[in-house]
Point group: C2
Chain length 330, copies 2
């Protein structure tokens, strides 16, 4: 039985979405058990409300709640009795195989690094994110944990993301691209040029890639510093809403009939489904000594369910052992 601890009070819609996601996950995976971490009574009430009956979901009490606005330090020092540090400690003590949360990303990252520690040989844990392209999801790393990443870090981010992309995302031979202002080898900051040198001999390194190459899917792992990655990620996430505003304006201007407008909306919605993170659910902290994933604050039950499945995959495929071997033997 694989055990995943789930933050029952993470995200904007707790406890209902984490609880519902957990119920769905165990119904799909018979070898899975879930520990819901958070205020005991609140979770028990929600389980009753959702009419859960069974023995593969248990509750672990953590009375405090870290809000989305709390500083990262809250998880480590300020609120030790909250779901994030309590859940991660359960994981660190091997009472479960993974921890997932749709809560405060900064707090989760800080607590994951502090409580789980780093994998052997890892300079800095990193947060990666799935990124939509015209033909499926790719991985971008780093998206905010290391704003000023040194060349050796960028190199390690690439290798760790490559392992995750292969074993969890199912990309057979992930191509690594270094985000830059031009394709030529001599382009970029000193950090990027040195990272290029480190990646040069890698058989699946496709060289520098530009901003225009991301949506086209020119690589499977896009490597960049956390400043660039974070701004890009949030910029990309804002695109569907911006487009829908512009399309609505256009529909009004053309005084389009309601059924026609509806059809335009349907086509657009489906095209933009590609940009919907629901199906992947969560993204991993790579380089920490454990399996810790974080989901969007607005995560639906579906997104949380998929995040739990990703955590299981990361655990069962032994991603961390493979990262350690890869970083230390190559």
């Amino acid at each position: 039985m694989i055990k995943v601890a789930v933050d029952a009070v993470g995200g904007d819609h707790y406890p209902q979405n984490p609880v519902q996601g957990a119920i769905q996950a165990i119904s799909e995976d018979k070898s899975l058990a879930v520990i819901l971490v958070g205020p005991e009574q609140m979770i028990k009430d929600e389980l009753i409300k959702q009419e859960y009956v069974g023995d593969r979901i248990s509750v672990f009490h953590a009375p405090d709640i870290i809000s989305m606005d709390d500083s990262p330090a809250a998880a480590v020092k300020g609120k030790p009795q909250s779901s994030i540090p309590v859940g991660l400690t359960l994981h660190a003590k091997k009472h479960c195989d993974a921890f997932v949360s749709a809560g405060n990303t900064g707090a989760l990252l800080a607590a994951s690094a502090f409580i789980l520690g780093r994998l052997d040989g890892v300079l800095r844990p990193t947060i990666s994110s799935v990124f939509p392209t015209v033909d499926g999801f790719r991985l971008m790393v780093d998206v905010g944990a290391n704003l000023d990443a040194k060349p050796e870090m960028l190199y390690q981010f690439a290798l760790m993301a490559e392992v995750y992309a292969h074993y969890v995302m199912g990309i057979e031979t992930p191509r690594i691209g270094l985000l830059n202002v031009g394709e030529e080898e001599e382009k970029g900051t000193e950090n990027i040029k040195k990272a290029y040198d480190l990646l040069r001999a890698h058989p699946r390194f496709v060289g520098n890639v530009e901003g225009r190459d991301i949506l086209a899917g020119a690589a499977d792992v896009f490597v960049c510093d956390g400043l660039t990655g974070n701004i890009l990620l949030k910029f990309g996430e804002s695109f569907p809403e911006a487009l829908s505003i512009l399309v609505k304006k256009s529909i009004v201007r053309h005084q389009m009939a309601p059924e026609q407008a509806q059809m335009v909306g349907m086509i657009l919605k489906e095209a933009l489904a590609q940009f919907d993170y629901e199906s992947v659910g969560g993204v991993p902290f790579l380089g920490v000594n454990g399996v810790s994933l974080v989901g969007h604050g607005g995560s639906s039950p579906l997104a949380i369910k998929n995040m739990i499945h990703s955590a299981v995959k990361m655990h069962t495929s032994g991603v961390n052992d493979k990262i350690i071997a890869y970083l230390n033997n190559k």
Copy 2:
């Protein structure tokens, strides 16, 4: 009479597009004269082909051509007889009031800085770019000239872009936003935090803005280093094509009737017109001692015409004098 030198062999469609853009520009602005810079015979043939008759377009011979793939050094050392250094030298010697080109951006930037020199008090010239939002264009600075921008540079970029946004783009009181990973003051790299300190007292500084705030138009001038800006700009430019691929897939999946598909395409095209840089035509190098604008390689005659009009506006409104006064007195 205002004189603008136009690179007749810049961009992907020369000489026809620059020549046609110049003819359109002088027909719209009776106080404008254009000097077409490039291989004399080629330009004269094109003027005949386009049946130009008049005395407000002249030709200045520059036999060499800088290709889009030439290194920036080509313009300064490698090809001194090409349109970019020849046109900029005409401007430096006051034979004209501005130079515009749809050619090699790197070469143009290097040559503009080298031949025109810097404005008094400017640490580093910068390249800014217009950026589409849900309600019109904003300015982003820097988009590739200064990959590692120091805090003082970021501060100057903000002020220079503010002047341009006001006088050329017609934004009454441009709000300045510092691109960052979060809104809180303590977020970001050391460089960004120091830039925040420098901008803090500015009456129109709206603080840190995130990637999701760009398309929403949360500021009028978005300030960032050239690495982030360049990757963001090219990422944004790739949206329309990626979306059209996704929409086509969706249309095929639904076996939509041709006339319905056409309507969807029309609405989408109009919505994305917002992302079309044609209407602004070109973007300025700010901080150089002159008026030098660059347009997209694929610039249409319309884009080149609009770039010429922007150059005229930048000259007549005295943007550079205002920048000097602003940087040195404030």
